[in-house]
Symmetry: C2
């Protein structure tokens, strides 16, 4: 590590503290850093500490956090953007994903930040060049896109804008690595980055199969949850195919590349059909009524907490 | 359940006992059924019991099998197809995936089977209509495609040919459910079925991103292994997005459908490029030399065994 981002311990500012921002706060506090958390909405601010206490407690119960009290003591919820940025060397921005909203908050951060601070945006698909061009310190801005929730899914995509300093990118990489996340480095911008492009490709095929009536929503889900998704919980798609042919990935491509190409040719990109979305909504709401969504999200996070503990105990964690 | 497939306990014939066939043998023996295992190659036959002993032992170590000895006692390795089919009510065919090879073995099974037996093929992408048309009992044949290895990944795709009896399909479904697998029902044939179409869609996008130099193979893998793949280890893609927008799947489609459609439009299907495959092979062999592939496959199966135990203990198993 070189430069100010590396030579001193970081102070973190969290800007926007919904579920993504709160998860980020826990990531950095767990790693021993001071975290200053700001959200413009008072009710959101009021939820941060109770949520962090509960989440950190659940992680401690399975050995993912040692000292909950110490972690919580590092979280400082503040009432202004100024207070969040005071002394901050790294800023994680997680506001609503609209270009106008991102542009406004980046200008505000830009006006208050230390010149050598680094600003990572949680944007899940919009590249930084669309909302940081007008910033005085635009070379210090980049995308740092996590999976939701970031404290339970360690991957983070780092995507530079054309004007992002190499040193800021490297500083963000080193910080993410140091706090136990898994930084994935993109060489340049692309809409959706890697993660949501992969998710989108799979979703587009899933919607097409459902639309054409090949199977129920629940059965399409089961092919992943009780099949294809199991290996992907600890291996990527390339390693998966590398182990799935006697001679490795080149052998696999020779055997099955033609089949996959033919499948791709059989599809024309089209929007997810309205009527099919409506039908999918009915199938989901019949499996899980709307009133149950919140409890099911808690179930998901509990499962992810357990999965993280299992991977750690089995040497499958990063 | 109705008909002979359901009213009596099944006797299972395994035809083709490579890794997929051997895994199937363990699935049925674990569930308490008599299994008659045949492979034309003597060396393959010789490997079945030692492999089953080791795999069942690893499963017993984490609570996935109670009585290894009893499970192994139900496995009967036989020297002829006739002996395998003797009294069999369900046949799982797992020979090499080539239309000619499948056609030949199905004719041979057809000539020896009981008229009411059911024959499931492990074919991973070729529909049954391409190799069962000439069979006298063609109404009893269908696809029963597992994930490799079937004893650790419970999903199985059941795909009827146009001439498959509804009663045979229902018999296979009931049997798979009874032995603890997760049957996914396709209404009709499509190349690649659901699982490999979903895998193929994701792989095509992954190859394109790698080909265009957006990230390394290892980093693309990390976006799945430490990010997107975590939720998919226990939830399907539709449930994932249903929980990822405040108002559920319809809300999610309204917010992000446009972005995913634009991504799809930015891609034209093309074959995985030769030069890119070669480069991927080099990157993989530098991460894992060819001599290490076998050990890494054992590591994968150990991880899948642990994951199955974790899911069972956490109430996430089917």
């Amino acid at each position: 590590m070189t430069g100010p981002a590396a030579s001193a311990p970081h102070v973190i500012a969290i800007v926007g503290a919904g579920l993504v921002g709160s998860g980020w706060a826990l990531v950095f506090a767990r790693a021993g850093l001071r975290v200053q958390v700001y959200d413009p909405v008072a009710e959101v601010r009021a939820r941060i500490l109770p949520w962090a206490r509960e989440s950190a407690g659940a992680m401690a119960a399975v050995g993912l956090i040692d000292d909950v009290k110490a972690v919580l003591a590092r979280l400082h919820v503040v009432d202004t953007l100024e207070a969040a940025l005071d002394g901050a060397t790294y800023v994680q921005e997680s506001v609503f994903e609209r270009v106008e909203v991102k542009t406004d908050i980046c200008r505000a951060i830009d006006a208050l930040m230390a010149p050598h601070a680094i600003v990572g945006s949680s944007s899940s698909g919009i590249p930084a060049s669309r909302f940081t061009e007008g910033c005085t310190h635009r070379g210090r801005f980049l995308i740092a896109h996590p999976v939701n929730p970031p404290h339970l899914a360690p991957v983070v995509e780092l995507v530079p804008a054309p004007w992002t300093d190499a040193e800021a990118l490297e500083g963000a990489r080193a910080l993410m690595h140091a706090v136990g996340q898994v930084p994935v480095m993109l060489t340049r911008e692309i809409d959706g980055f890697i993660l949501n492009r992969l998710q989108g490709a799979l979703l587009n095929e899933a919607w097409a199969l459902y639309d054409e009536g090949y199977a129920s929503l629940a059965d399409i889900d089961a092919t992943i949850a009780h099949g294809l998704g199991l290996r992907w919980a600890f291996m990527g798609p390339f390693e998966t195919i590398d182990l799935n042919a006697p001679g490795g990935i080149v052998d696999y491509a020779a055997r099955l590349g033609g089949m996959y190409h033919a499948m791709a040719q059989s599809r024309t990109p089209r929007a997810w059909p309205e009527e099919t979305i409506r039908r999918a909504g009915e199938e989901r709401r019949s499996a899980l009524p709307e009133a149950g969504l919140t409890a099911r999200r808690a179930w998901r996070d509990q499962a992810l907490t357990g999965l993280a503990a299992f991977k750690k105990a089995s040497g499958l964690a990063p």
